[in-house]
Amino acid sequence: MNTLRSLLLAAALALGASGASLAQQPNADDPEASTSWQQVRNAMFPGRSITSPAEAIISIEAPDRAQDAAIVPVSIRTHVEQRAERYIEKVYLVIDNNPSPVGAVFHFTPASGRADIETRVRVDAYTHVRAIAQMNDGELFMATRFVKASGGCSAPPGKDMTAAMASLGKMRFRVDGDIEAGKPALAQLMISHPNNSGLAMDQLTRLYTPAYFVRRVQVSYAGEPVLSADVDFSISENPNFRFYFLPRGEGELKAEVIDTNDLKFETVLSVAPK
């Protein structure tokens, strides 16, 4: 277990396996008042200042109300050119009131072109959702959104558990439109995986199903890393990522995915810029 995962785990344990208390309604207007955020902050960024809001650097979009608690689209936009001398190195996605609040840590490089990322998450309760950008010099900037949990029938677990296991490991890349050398291009990576939290108990055996989720995603273009991500079960079933890369000449876009059973999945797409 690497240091990051230890930190994530520590943060999760600090909050207790069931997440923050539902009885204590979080304050939509004051993102800093969230106790789970204060715990994550102390574990992940001790003693560091975080500029927020920081609209010139980072913004986040999510629906006000989670329509489907299992699939809440989150779009993180950055407004910094990824240059060798100054770029966004990491983006942390934090969902305060999920059982494991740090849902993902995305790592970017100058070859990413842009440090934007779009994905879908599970939302367990009324919560702040945060994107925290770390620059290559260590400076931190944060954007937050408040998402209300959906109603009574909508729950974070997936819709068809049998089907989810049957198509395990299938992957797809998609790059739309013309690709121009030197101009950031948008790509989508789809991974078929149940990505479950392991928090459900089998009523017959009284045992908890083991957590089983994608834990690492690495994407390279022509051998250069453009995106890598440490992720967990806050990411929805069938993890889906839209991100940028900077095409230069002909090359392969390649994704490698590792799950918590150490299964590895791989897919490639040839890209030929105009």
Partner: protein, 317 residues
């Protein structure tokens, strides 16, 4: 199935609900839910066409029971233990015959959180569900209990969520004494654990949430699978069907056609957006007003359906 409005949206109705609940408690036992005998020995309580909330005390799904000479079978129990108790009172009013079976048509809380009221009966009835119901309910029960607390202000212990012990993976018959029920477990459609209950040879049939009338259909399983299951249901020659939400009807094939039209609209709209490379959030916004005329609860469920359909259809070959 029914999400709820946030608690503060219901606040002005809380007083009224408190008064209603107070009246129920003052009566010592729950007041009987109103039911209609839609065919001999077949009773239906029609839930309100609303989201599951404080204001309606979780009374939003259709519930029913079938009376034989030896046994009663209850089909869905309502959105709270209190509602289950009121349904039990209605059974008691209709017949002294014991409740042998409690059947859940699927996992959603507005159909199943009343189970607890029947689990206390002596002898205890057998709880019946789709073979995939236990797994789905295990995963969802903590969230449903939280929602019950949040939306209805009702505490339910983990043990208060009652799981089925008779599991149906294809077809199963129950003999109530002079009345035979045929239970059928369907492939993933509205949910991955939909079960229909047919009374006798010619119906009625309880379709659970495989059929919505009035209330917008809700996709929590597989859109394409649901359309296939509807094809199979359309071949049934039965006189009367009870949807999970909306009025029981002899014209149930018409209700099926209306539901199909909505689901096909969602499928085609979302498919086109995926083909065009439109991301999920933008697709949901773009289609938020499409194909929803004449449905109830559009604001509560249409965007959610588009979201679920997108996540399913983007994997089509």
């Amino acid at each position: 199935m029914k999400p709820c409005l946030p608690p503060f949206a219901c606040r002005r109705l809380v007083l009224l609900t408190a008064l209603l609940l107070g009246a129920v408690k003052a009566a010592g036992a729950a007041d009987a839910l109103p039911t209609a005998e839609i065919a001999p020995g077949v009773f239906v309580h029609q839930g309100q066409q609303q989201v599951w909330s404080h204001a309606n005390a979780g009374d939003v799904a259709n519930l029913g029971f079938v009376v034989g000479s030896q046994c009663v079978a209850v089909i869905d129990t309502g959105g709270s233990p209190q509602l289950g108790a009121a349904l039990l009172a209605a059974v008691r009013q209709a017949t002294p015959v014991p409740v042998c079976y409690v059947i859940n048509t699927h996992v959603h809380p507005d159909h199943l959180l009343g189970n607890q009221a029947f689990a206390a009966l002596e002898p205890r009835p057998r709880f019946v569900g789709h073979a995939r119901l236990p797994a789905s309910l295990s995963a969802r029960a903590p969230f449903y209990r939280d929602a019950l607390q949040r939306e209805l202000g009702v505490e339910l212990a983990a043990e208060g969520v009652i799981f089925p012990e008779v599991l149906v993976d294809d077809r199963h018959e129950l003999d109530l004494g002079g009345v035979r029920l045929t239970l059928r477990a369907w492939p993933t459609a509205h949910t991955d654990n939909d079960l229909s209950v047919q009374v006798g040879e010619r119906g009625p049939i309880f379709l659970g949430d495989l059929l919505f009338a009035g209330h917008l259909p809700v996709i929590d399983g597989r859109l394409l699978g649901w359309l296939e299951v509807m094809d199979a249901l359309d071949t049934l020659d039965l006189e009367l069907a009870i949807p999970g939400h909306g009025a029981p009807s002899a014209d149930w094939k018409v209700a099926m056609a209306v539901q199909r039209s909505y689901l096909l609209g969602v499928r085609d709209g979302v498919r086109a957006a995926i083909d065009a490379g439109t991301p999920i959030a933008e697709t949901v916004e773009a289609l938020a007003g499409a194909g929803v005329d004449n449905w109830l609860l559009v604001d509560e469920f249409h965007r959610r359906n588009l979201t679920a359909a997108y996540a399913e259809l983007e994997w089509e070959d």
